[in-house]
């Protein structure tokens, strides 16, 4: 029963992972990736990690939702109304993927892996909690600082309007000659500077 479930879930994970790069609609692509994550999360539950497994589903649902928003925001033809292929170095990539898969699989098959199962009935969430608050406390707090840095970085990079107005307003570079034209790009210039990409 567990084996059948594992087989079904791993097939789902790999199939939907593959579909991510094959569907035309960007929304479908994001949620295919989400399905792949959900399948992996459920496999993790089968592997006696109920917390990590379910939390993966929880986190990835949210992250893929955001992923879908950005996909739709920035990808041309986000719904795939015109079928399209936007790839480069295709053969090389396929080869790299196949090599990575076969190399890793060979390594797995050839190496002698130690076997020590999770003991039956172990309270793995409690262990994790003690680990977080005990030996790995520093990792935990470092993660907090890293996330703070991420939040600030993301806001700085993405937000246009801060408390002092638009982020690129009034920040002209100095002139090439004293009192001359500012060097480089002028903030207002970008408006007249469309360049659309055609189909590749």
């Amino acid at each position: 029963m567990t084996d059948a479930l594992f087989l079904a879930l791993s097939t789902l994970a790999i199939w939907s992972g593959w579909r991510v790069f094959r569907v035309d609609s960007m929304v479908r692509a994001s949620f295919q990736l989400m399905v792949s994550f959900i399948a992996v999360g459920l496999i993790a539950v089968l592997l006696a990690a109920p917390y990590i497994g379910i939390a993966t589903i929880f986190m990835m649902a949210v992250e893929m939702m955001v992923m879908a928003l950005f996909m739709v925001m920035f990808m041309m033809n986000p719904a795939g109304l015109n079928p399209m292929v936007m790839v480069h170095q295709h053969r090389f990539s396929i080869a790299a993927g196949v090599v990575a898969f076969s190399g890793l699989s060979a390594a797995v098959l050839l190496s002698d892996l130690p076997v020590q199962r999770v003991p039956e009935g172990a309270d793995v969430v409690r262990d994790l909690g003690h680990e977080l608050l005990g030996p790995s406390m520093l990792i935990f707090e470092t993660a907090g600082v890293t996330l703070l840095a991420t939040m600030i970085g993301a806001v700085v990079l993405s937000a246009h309007s801060g408390r002092y107005g638009a982020s690129d307003a009034g920040s002209l570079p100095p002139g090439l000659t004293p009192g001359g034209e500012p060097a480089g790009r002028k903030p207002d210039e970008s408006a007249g500077h469309h360049h659309h990409h055609g189909g590749h």
Partner: protein, 114 residues
């Protein structure tokens, strides 16, 4: 194993039910005027699917970083009573650090429509 078998069965049941129910309704021919999107008699020029300007995009970035804290909080909650005041202090510090990010984001106006 049993823990996830039941939710999966329920999901399959619900999907099967929903798909079956949708076959009940009357069948009609889908003509073009019937398929046009509802705009109160008006018509759009283009498809609605577009590069949609998500006006709250900085908030979503703040959100995915902030939301990671949940991963740490659940195990923390399980051992909280056993660990006591240390756990309170550590989580207080953790949340405090992240709250700085929220305050910064608020000051930068990320919760407004861009």
């Amino acid at each position: 194993m049993t823990g996830i078998a039941m939710p999966l069965i329920l999901v399959l049941l619900a999907i099967a039910f929903a798909v079956t129910m949708q076959r009940i309704g009357a069948k009609t021919e889908a003509t073009w005027p019937r398929r046009a999107p509802f705009l109160g008699g008006g018509l759009p020029e283009t498809h609605a699917w577009q590069r949609f300007h998500v006006r709250y995009y900085p908030m979503t970035l703040l959100f995915i970083a902030f939301e990671m804290e949940m991963m740490f909080m659940y195990p923390w909650a399980v051992v909280y009573v056993e660990t006591g005041i240390v756990a309170l202090a550590e989580m207080g510090m953790f949340l405090g650090i992240l709250s700085v990010g929220i305050l910064y984001g608020w000051r930068e106006g990320v919760f407004r429509w861009q």
